[in-house]
């Protein structure tokens, strides 16, 4: 596929308290940003199981954003630190699978940072566009579906 027609599908796991609210703020402030991101709300970025990331890539995501509260500001105290740890480990693992580490992005977006969210989405979209589509799964997806 050509990069010009490639419209990446990005999945964003946003924590409710900060990042989701920040994204909300971007919305209420009528900020425009690339529509490629699909948001899945979790309570805390620490909820993001590495399985979600793998599943998302398996299902066809080109890029995954995990976004939580700034370090020290996590509503559940330390959840974002767990997310940070997992992100680092996961990146290494993904590289071994042949997935570029840039496809998994970790951001800290606070509830006030609507503009940052807008920037991150735009930037991420551009970045993934450059990288091109992932196309990691070939074959019957049903074989791998969980019961």
């Amino acid at each position: 596929m050509s990069s010009e027609n490639f419209d990446p599908t990005l999945i964003g796991f946003l924590c409710t308290w900060c990042s989701y609210t920040g994204a909300d703020l971007a919305g209420t402030a009528r900020m425009t940003y690339s529509p490629n991101i699909r948001i899945i709300r979790v309570m805390c970025s620490g909820r993001v199981d590495p399985q979600f990331v793998i599943k998302a890539f398996k299902e066809g995501a080109d890029g995954i954003l995990i976004s939580g509260c700034h370090p020290g500001d996590c509503h559940y105290k330390e959840g974002n630190y767990k997310a940070l740890r997992r992100h680092r480990l996961l990146r290494k693992m993904l590289e071994q699978f042949g997935i570029e580490k840039e496809r998994l992005r970790l951001e800290w977006v606070s509830a006030a940072e609507g503009a940052k969210f807008q920037n991150v989405c735009d930037e991420f979209t551009e970045q993934i566009k450059e990288l091109g589509p992932l196309n990691i799964m070939k074959g019957d997806i049903n074989e791998y579906r969980e019961a």
Partner: protein
């Protein structure tokens, strides 16, 4: 009880008081010079002598320190007592002719002049020792005492040198009955320790004349008791025994259901804008300083005066200082336009000054606000639309000499103007309080970009925060004026009450739970929980989650290797479904 006779009158008084005190009770006045009710009697001046008559004859005793005894017969103004008293006062008149209490006493006793040699016509010190006794017994510093003896006796520090023991309390000057010690004298004699800041007020004082509550506080830095362990004269004289020097700050733990944060704001510091000359130029003041100046309890008594004490003939009010400014705060502080108009109106009322108001926009958003603005337009205040670029004292012409020149682009006529004024009032904006970050951390609430506390929803939940039970009121949430603050405060109070009134509390529905069948007891989750909501049950060999403690973050869930831990409404299955749902064609 003691029975005695004073001036022919038989009286009964309580044991342990002096003749002077007994006489006071009978409203008989015995003159004193070295006596003070707050100090131990010194009996040095010998002016208070009275005649004590007994079977063996009579003798003169000093009434200030002699205790009453049963059967005493006292004559306070007998010939013998008066003779000695007059002689002593006549001698004091020669020793310290400039001491007013001695002059007055001499007049009272009918002494016109002194037969004795006058050494120094300007001498005021009567060697009563009150300064020494105050320094030693009341203050506890013992910095001064008497030097030499006889005719050479004088009050001084050791060897007349600057004393390390002097704490600059000026109690000596305070107690001196003749004004022989003045504070300037103290400086000249190098008695005051050079590092101490004397200040115009006492260590125990009411903060301002309009303080609420109107209760004095003790400034620990200035208080002598905290320095030397002595004094405590304030608590000695307080009849209600309301003063407790030993009171310590207490930390009280209260268990509450809801908290309203109303921690207020901070004024913008205009010294951050050097061009406006605040702190550098005289008569450039902030709005808050002007409020204080104009208040009836101010040092000027409410008169609007320049630093040299004169009335200003022209005043400039500059809007948006620190607000609506990319370099400082981008937001509008909401209240400044209206209070600037208020100042303009006050100035017109109290002075005959020319008033210039420099604005960008006139934000008169409230009830009656626009009408007030119109009134001002008719009062004669000159409104100039433009951002002031600088306030300077560099005069370029004769009219500008000695004035503050405001340089502004008058955008309505498109001319850069120089307007000389006597006083400049900076309408400084509102900022979050200095400790707002700390408060946010303590209460685990978020701040918005400008630093004010973040409300749960800008439109629909302006008084709540993302943390249940913590509410906001007032300018800690955003700049607002008094009517809005009051309204918000009412709302917050209402929400808090509603919470308490419900009697029920809604639990989070999104807590995590552990499937006993699946749990292997690896305990990975136990250490991860920041709320220590998970415990390991040794008997069962599995981990368990306490519903009440669990806040629903889901960290344990994502760490569980077996999938035994799941978060209600955010199960793995559910999220997988969401992910799949995104990619359904």
């Amino acid at each position: 009880m003691v029975n005695l006779k004073i001036d022919g009158k038989t009286i009964q008084v309580e044991d342990g008081i002096t003749i002077l005190q007994a006489a006071e009770q009978q409203e008989i006045k015995i003159p004193t010079l070295c006596y003070h009710p707050l100090m131990e009697p010194y009996a040095a001046c010998r002016v208070c002598v009275v005649e004590s008559i007994s079977g063996k004859g009579s003798e003169l005793v000093t009434s200030c320190n002699t205790l009453v005894k049963n059967g005493m017969e006292i004559q306070t103004a007998s010939d013998k007592a008066l003779f000695a008293r007059r002689m002593n006062v006549e001698m004091l008149l020669a020793q310290a002719p400039a001491a007013v209490p001695v002059q007055e006493l001499a007049k009272e006793l009918g002494i016109e002049k002194t037969r004795f040699k006058i050494k120094d016509p300007d001498e005021k010190c009567i060697l009563c020792g009150m300064c020494v006794r105050a320094c030693e017994d009341i203050v506890g510093a013992s910095a001064i005492s008497f030097l030499q003896r006889g005719q050479h006796r004088e009050v001084c520090t050791p060897f007349g040198e600057q004393s390390e023991a002097c704490i600059g309390c000026t109690a000596c000057a305070f107690f001196c009955p003749t004004g022989a010690i003045t504070v300037e004298d103290l400086h000249g004699r190098k008695v005051i320790h050079s590092e101490l800041d004397l200040g115009p007020s006492t260590a125990i004082r009411v903060p301002i004349r309009q303080a609420v509550p109107m209760v004095p506080f003790i400034d620990e830095e200035a208080c002598i008791h905290f320095k030397t362990g002595e004094c405590k004269i304030c608590s000695d004289v307080c009849q209600k025994e309301a003063i407790d020097h030993e009171a310590q700050d207490e930390e009280i733990e209260l268990e509450v259901g809801s908290i309203i944060l109303a921690s207020g704001f901070k004024s913008f510091d205009p010294s951050l804008i050097p061009a406006y000359g605040y702190g550098r130029l005289d008569n450039v003041i902030t709005a808050l300083e002007f409020e204080r100046l104009v208040n009836a309890s101010s040092p000027t008594g409410g008169k609007i005066l320049l630093s040299n004490g004169e009335e200003p003939k022209s005043v400039g009010i500059i809007h948006c200082v620190g607000s609506r400014d990319e370099n400082y705060n981008e937001y509008c502080s909401r209240v400044c336009c209206m209070y600037s108009l208020k100042f303009a109106h006050l100035l017109k009322e109290k002075t005959s000054a020319d008033i210039y108001d420099f604005y960008i926009d006139m934000r008169c958003f409230g009830k009656g606000y626009e009408e007030f603005y119109h009134r001002l337009l008719h009062e004669g205040t000159k409104f100039i639309r433009g951002r002031v670029s600088e306030v300077s004292d560099m005069a370029l012409s004769k009219e500008e000499e000695g004035k503050l020149i405001i340089r502004v682009e008058d955008t309505l006529i498109g001319v850069v103007r120089r307007i000389p004024v006597d006083m400049v009032i900076l309408a400084t904006g509102l900022e979050p309080g200095t400790d707002s970050n700390q408060i946010a951390k303590v209460f685990n609430i978020s701040c918005s970009q400008d630093g004010f506390f973040l409300e749960r929803h800008p439109k629909l939940a302006p008084v709540s925060t993302f943390s249940d039970g913590i509410f906001l009121a007032g300018t800690c949430q955003s700049p607002k004026d008094i009517p809005d603050t009051v309204a918000q405060a009412g709302a917050a109070a209402c929400e808090a009450l509603a919470l308490a009134d419900k009697g029920k509390f809604d639990l989070e529905p999104i807590t995590a739970e552990i499937d006993e069948e699946l749990c292997a007891g690896c305990q990975i989750c136990v250490g991860l929980c920041p709320f220590t909501a998970i415990t390991y049950d040794k008997e069962k060999g599995i981990s368990e989650i306490n519903d009440a403690l669990c806040k629903g973050c889901g960290t344990c869930v994502s760490a569980c290797p077996s999938g035994a831990a799941q978060q209600k409404h955010f199960r793995d299955k559910q999220i997988f479904a969401e992910i799949e749902g995104i990619f359904i064609e």
